[in-house]
């Protein structure tokens, strides 16, 4: 027994539940409620979406037509056609172009902020990028309509500017800030001792980045890109406003398309609750849910891969 406790006896009344004991209990309870509610809400949303659309998606919806037909005629009587191909291709093409825009921009910005900018400039840039990430998507859509639209018409001499090109550029600019922030975090997680060791070997700044920093931040960078892709798939308002919103199998970036998300947003308010159309829209919701869930899961796996190697 240590010097401290020698001669100490347990006295009657030592085992009391003081205020700190009660506060501990209360704090634990509050934190538990907060944590569990987040999970409950997600599960509830999933159950709601599934309940509204899953039965229809599995038993009534013709999956062959849904995945291969470009005809989205949900209100045609007596035989509506629920072909989702044009919507899927629309979302995929806009997201793909958005990534072509966003990946170079965001990785370049992250490398500049993380590796080249110093002191004050670096802090300002970081705040600025985070501000950009906070611009509401409807504002981006507005920019697409009023700025990019006439620009495309003038620049390429085409009749309409609300196209894949427009939506892709807007979505890319929109996704870039958040991707930059995550990519920069990944670069920051690379220990400075790596950079010093490589510079001491006589490597130039670019050689250090290329040979040491980027490879060791690889998983975090992949996660940043995947989250950007997820963002692109899920984005609604900006795409709705900038893409032209016409059901169409595109053949070039100058074609208008319609996205999965925009279809739900535009049509759900006008359908009768429980109708086929209503349920078909929920089926689209399930598809989106699965895609974004898979992408986020992949991003999570990539980030975990980074932690495990440490």
């Amino acid at each position: 027994m240590s010097e401290f406790n020698r001669g100490r006896r347990t006295v009657p009344g030592a085992d009391t539940l003081g205020s700190s004991w009660w506060w501990d209990r209360i704090a634990q309870g509050v934190v538990f409620l907060g944590g569990i509610s987040a999970i409950v809400f997600i599960v509830a949303i999933f159950i709601f979406v599934a309940q509204q659309g899953l039965g229809f998606a599995i038993f009534e919806l013709d999956k062959g037509v849904f995945l291969t037909s470009p005809e989205w005629r949900p209100t045609t009587e007596p035989e509506p056609v629920f072909g989702g191909l044009a919507l899927i291709v629309g979302t995929a093409s806009v997201t793909g172009l958005a990534m072509l825009v966003a990946v170079p921009f965001s990785l370049g910005a992250a490398i500049f902020i993380g590796e080249f900018a110093t002191g004050r400039a670096r802090e300002y840039l970081k705040v600025l990028v985070e501000l950009l990430a906070a611009i509401p998507s409807v504002v981006w859509g507005f920019i697409g309509l009023t700025v990019v639209n006439p620009l495309i018409i003038d620049l390429f001499n085409v009749p309409v500017g609300l196209t894949i090109l427009n939506a892709g550029v807007i979505l890319g600019l929109m996704a870039a800030p958040i991707m930059t922030t995550i990519a920069e975090d990944a670069l920051k997680a690379v220990p400075d001792s790596y950079r010093e060791a490589a510079e001491a070997l006589g490597a130039t700044r670019w050689q250090v980045i290329r040979q040491v920093v980027l490879p060791s931040a690889k998983n975090g960078l992949v996660a940043a890109i995947l989250l950007g892709v997820g963002r692109g798939f899920g984005e609604t308002m900006a795409v709705l406003m900038a893409s032209g919103h016409s059901v169409n199998l595109p053949t070039s970036p100058f074609d208008s398309v319609r996205a999965l998300t925009a279809t739900i947003a535009a049509e759900l308010g006008e359908t009768a609750r429980g109708s086929e159309h209503y349920k078909a829209l929920f089926s689209i919701g399930i598809l989106l849910f699965l895609v974004t869930f898979t992408i986020n899961l992949l991003a999570d796996v990539a980030v975990r891969g980074r932690r495990k190697r440490r």
Binding site: S193, A197, A200, G202, Q207
Partner: protein
């Protein structure tokens, strides 16, 4: 072979009136000394006496941190390091071994092959040769030759430190700077590395910063004693340890009476 007496050899590094400041805090105050070719130059002293800052000034690592200010002159082969336009070429002539081994997140092979690759060696045979030679000279080849493709960071601490020495050697440097290399290394490995250093002295100039007084005694030709940013004394190691010292503080430090 008759060895040229130490003080008649050409000066490899000349340091004149070197001061280093972090903000308004003085890390090193007006130091002048020279380091001869093929010498092991030991630097001893307690923490915060400016030893690491001294090393950083030599290969201009200060340029990586905004707040470190260097005044005075450091010359390599008589040529001021500040006047080098290509700082990367300067750094590639100076190998550095840090206190804690920094295994870059690469394989053992890649760690050693990195520097030759940076300077443009592409030939696989040539690279293999460099990797084997450097690992052998760092007394690590026998332990890792069967797993050159595994990650360098998976090696033990002592092995990683020898890997960083091999990596520094792959630069084919003129000058090797070692900063308390034995901090994370067991005594047996320390002895092995010390033997390696004794051999390397034939080919390069070594600056050895150490907090182990006896290590300086075993290895260094000359030893400098830094205290609180000042150069208290520099002299032949034998002399210092025979108590032929000029300053009472040196005796106190060497005998461990310091506080």
């Amino acid at each position: 072979m008759v060895e040229t007496p130490l003080l008649e050899r050409p000066k490899k590094l000349t340091v004149e009136n070197l001061s280093i400041l972090y903000g308004d805090q003085v890390a090193l105050n007006d130091i002048s000394l020279d380091i001869r070719e093929n010498e092991i130059f030991g630097i001893i002293g307690p923490a915060n006496s400016g030893k690491t800052s001294f090393l950083r000034a030599i290969n201009r690592m200060d340029e990586m941190s905004d707040d470190m200010l260097v005044r005075g002159k450091v010359a390599l082969d008589g040529c001021d390091v500040r006047s080098w336009r290509n700082v990367y070429a300067l750094r590639s002539r100076i190998g550095v071994v840090f206190p804690l081994p920094v295994g870059l997140p690469l394989t053992i092979y890649e760690n050693v092959a990195l520097s030759p690759r940076l300077r443009g060696v592409r030939n696989k045979v040539e690279l293999d040769e460099i990797v084997e030679r450097c690992l052998s000279r760092a007394a690590l080849w026998d332990e890792v030759k069967d797993r050159l493709d595994s990650l360098g960071s998976l090696l033990s601490g002592g092995q990683q430190q020898r890997l960083t020495i091999a990596r520094a050697l792959s630069q084919e440097p003129d000058v090797l700077l070692l900063d308390e290399f034995s901090i994370a290394v067991d005594p047996v490995t320390t002895m092995r590395i010390e033997d390696v250093l004794k051999e390397l002295r034939e080919e390069m100039t070594i600056v050895l910063v150490t907090n182990l007084v006896q290590q300086a005694r075993r290895l260094a030709d000359r030893t400098a004693f830094f205290l609180g940013g000042e150069l208290v004394e520099v002299g032949m190691t034998e002399d210092l340890f025979r108590r032929q010292v000029k300053d009472q503080r040196t005796t106190d430090y060497l005998e461990g009476r310091f506080g």
